[in-house]
Symmetry: C2
Subunit: 488 residues, 2 copies
């Protein structure tokens, strides 16, 4: 653990959930209570529902007010109406609460001057009493090591990526979407309006957190530009820091203002901030996901722009080659000696060994041989592979040829085993060749393959376009970082 | 049927499949035979496998040579080695065959001068004998009305989109991918090297074919530029014509040359050809798919750039608004009177009625009311909807709350029924409002919803980005077409 002043916020003991409905686990606030209880939080640290109208909620004793809960309470999650929050802040102060997560919305984001003023008053009073506020208008904390989560399906295992997000929905999209691709998180914070704790506070914390190796953020507006820039610089100097900015066009900025009360500001200034600080700016949610994959797999060590593309049909290879070039990467023609070695066992008709390597061989051993020869070629910095006994939407091999066995209960497990073997083949090739190997794999069946490949440091992207774009952005970012300390 | 000289090629009677393996339906040539037989082609028109080494294949009588087949044979599908093709051409001539589909590869695309010369000789001899050649190095014909198909899973019902493609894999990606989104085809032609029949021949045919309303093409190289331009102009003048060009970068061009022997040429010239002819140039496979959806649904009538975005979470709405603006569309703030009408029943906290309309109401009747009010607002030309009792990855409603019922055999049918109802709701709103409604729906569960929505003229796109991009391209294309006859 770090000595950072925010450290304790991520490791609360007892939590009170204020404003739970009498039924206990209905609605979003009920989800908070329900997911903490399901994780066993009440047994480990204490979990106190607060509602004056009932004595028990979801099998837990319910307290009439925060002040009636057993001491101490570290963290409060609240969904009471906005106008009742000042009283709750007084209770937090009296109780010695360290952090107050206001799920409650209806403050500055409404555009109502009176509610914006109320938000400021609440924060001033809380700060004066030593209570830090997360929100309002947000989902709060996900800390898997502490079993703290704002969404039921999030992974329970911790990892090394920290996310900060002004949007709860986008936080869920990042954690949920990247979890499917194998990524695990140290912490995620949805902080909504950011009335007290803001992006710069969390970036500052992330820079020092030993559990965090990679930082990513979704930001709508920055009120304290200087603090933000300084924190971003400190963080990006030591860890890959990937930022997605919402509200870059007037319509998006209007939406951001309605959403979190943010004044989105100029995207040119934001872009300049990212460039100068050494952060990476993602321009879409897909970019953010793909860049996290790129910097947490062997792809982060890619030495240059030379891509070898192995496998796939003729016309698909043509479009893939175009996509690689569009992303600013090269698809160098392979040296004559490499081509000669490949021609020793690749049939001529309907194939090419120039690059893309458009081959029609199914046998796994031959395919390994192709990868080895290609990886050894001088102009190749990274291999994109579409075949290794694995088709574009799942493990191939016998796919579609199992006949009745497809309905077999064992078929799913056999498919999963083939997917694991395919992932292992990619990983072994990557290890022995010393250059990154990218697996192209999307679709609903990709789960097992993606998880295993990621565990072994192999990046999986759903399309050539996205793989090439992520690597192009990574290389551009690395060039910009020159002069800063190496972080890989 | 049209009087076009190619018409008869699309309506062959008896077909011979030359070079089938003795086992009958193994390998790709076996697939051709197998899928024709499965479609009952042998009973309706005659289907003759040719292989001198066996007397029966897949339950069909097998003939030693083409000349031994019963008269007449209209169409020949061949996979014999390249060097044996000249003899087959002589047999075709003698037999009065009208079209020869050479699946066989190994001609000009190998880069071997001798094989390129052989390809030219074959075509010259065939033409002189009145035999048209499709290919070599291609998958040939898909004509659902004639039960003619080169891929097992293609829809058996005909539609009104004609595809021509130099790539078999890309032809499959177009037909298969768009079929999942509800599109049906009049014809698809995979013509590979295009040694005889080329893009301009098929474009010329497509322009006059009464079964075809929309034309789309994947092209790698054009050898007869003037003919291509003239045919493209004729076709694009009367039907929406969407072209994807492969080989736009040097690496892609090299791949195209290895794939179909094509000389890809300058993309600037190609782009200019498309602009001058009134065609739409797609720059990726996704674009091609999305443009076909756009021109075959009510989206084709979109009157301007004004988008209203309904539903979805706060941060997601912010990014969506940015994506709409990035695509060159507007997300106009709704008029005060529209906002007032929406505020009558939309709660304030955490919502916005300015546009994007970020609402948290689940009830279907209320949602219909929202759509009606928004559709009536003057600056709105098209509505993007993410909610109508349907979540982003399938019918929501009770999703995740069915408990044990999720395993119920009836659950799938209930989900399908909800998906149909949701699609019908979009269609009804589109009909009554008179402006296009776009449904945002992706993921594996989208099938039923997409099919039903498309049947009723509602465009479904997987993401806001893709919907906005397709509409932006459609509007740009329409502006360029000014002066040409209206085609919608």
């Amino acid at each position: 653990m770090s000595e950072h002043p925010l450290e304790q916020i991520f490791h609360p003991r007892a939590i009170a959930v204020v404003g739970v409905p009498s039924q206990g686990t209905s609605g979003r606030i009920g989800d908070f209570l329900g997911s903490l209880k399901a994780a066993g939080y009440h047994e480990q640290h204490g979990l106190y529902p607060v509602n004056p109208k009932t004595e028990e909620v979801a099998g837990l004793r319910c307290y009439p007010t925060l002040l009636d809960c057993p001491d101490p309470v570290d963290h409060v999650i609240s969904q009471i109406p906005a106008r009742a929050v000042p009283l709750l802040v007084e209770q937090c102060a009296e109780k010695g609460v360290r952090s107050l997560h206001l799920f409650t919305a209806g403050f500055s984001e409404t555009g109502d001057a009176e509610m914006a003023a109320l938000e400021r008053e609440i924060v001033e009073r809380a700060r004066a009493a030593g209570v830090r506020v997360i929100g309002p208008n947000c989902m709060g904390l996900y800390v898997p090591a502490e079993r703290l989560s704002f969404m039921g399906g999030f992974p329970t295992e911790p990892g090394h990526v920290l996310l900060l997000s002004q949007s709860g929905a986008n936080a869920s999209a990042v954690v949920g979407g990247l979890a499917q691709r194998g990524v695990r998180f140290s912490k995620a914070i949805s902080f909504g309006n950011g009335a007290d704790l803001q992006a710069h506070d969390f970036l500052d914390y992330a820079a020092t957190d030993p559990e965090t190796e990679v930082v990513t953020a979704y930001i709508e507006g920055v009120t304290e530009g200087r603090n933000f820039f300084e924190a971003l610089k400190r963080c990006a100097a030591v860890k890959p820091t990937i930022i997605l900015k919402g509200g870059i066009h007037p319509a998006g900025a209007r939406a951001a203002h309605s959403h979190t009360g943010s004044l989105a500001g100029s995207i040119d200034i934001f872009e300049a901030l990212c460039r100068q600080s050494g952060a990476i700016r993602a321009t879409s949610m897909d970019d953010l996901h793909d860049l996290v994959i790129a910097v947490t797999t062997e792809v982060r060590r890619v030495a240059g722009r030379g891509v070898a593309l192995v496998g796939g049909g003729g016309g698909i290879a043509v479009l893939s080659a175009d996509a690689i070039a569009t992303a600013g990467l090269d698809l160098p023609e392979l040296p004559a000696e490499t081509q000669r070695q490949l021609r020793e066992f690749i049939p001529v008709a309907g194939t090419s060994v120039r690059n893309p390597i458009d081959i029609n061989i199914g046998a796994s051993d031959d395919m390994r041989r192709v990868y080895r020869i290609v990886a050894a070629a001088e102009p190749v910095d990274v291999i994109f592979g579409t075949s290794f006994g694995v088709g574009p939407s799942g493990p191939a091999g016998n796919q579609g040829r199992d006949g009745d066995a497809a309905d077999d209960a064992g078929a799913a497990e056999r498919a999963a085993e083939r997917a694991r073997q395919a992932a292992d083949s990619f990983a072994e090739l990557q290890e022995e060749s010393g250059i990154p190997v990218v697996a192209l794999q999307g679709g609903p069946q990709a789960g097992t393959f993606q998880q295993r490949a990621y565990e072994r440091g192999v990046a999986v992207f759903p399309t050539v376009e996205r793989a090439a774009r992520a690597i192009g952005m990574l290389l551009e970012w690395r060039t910009r970082r020159e002069g800063l300390p190496a972080i890989f």
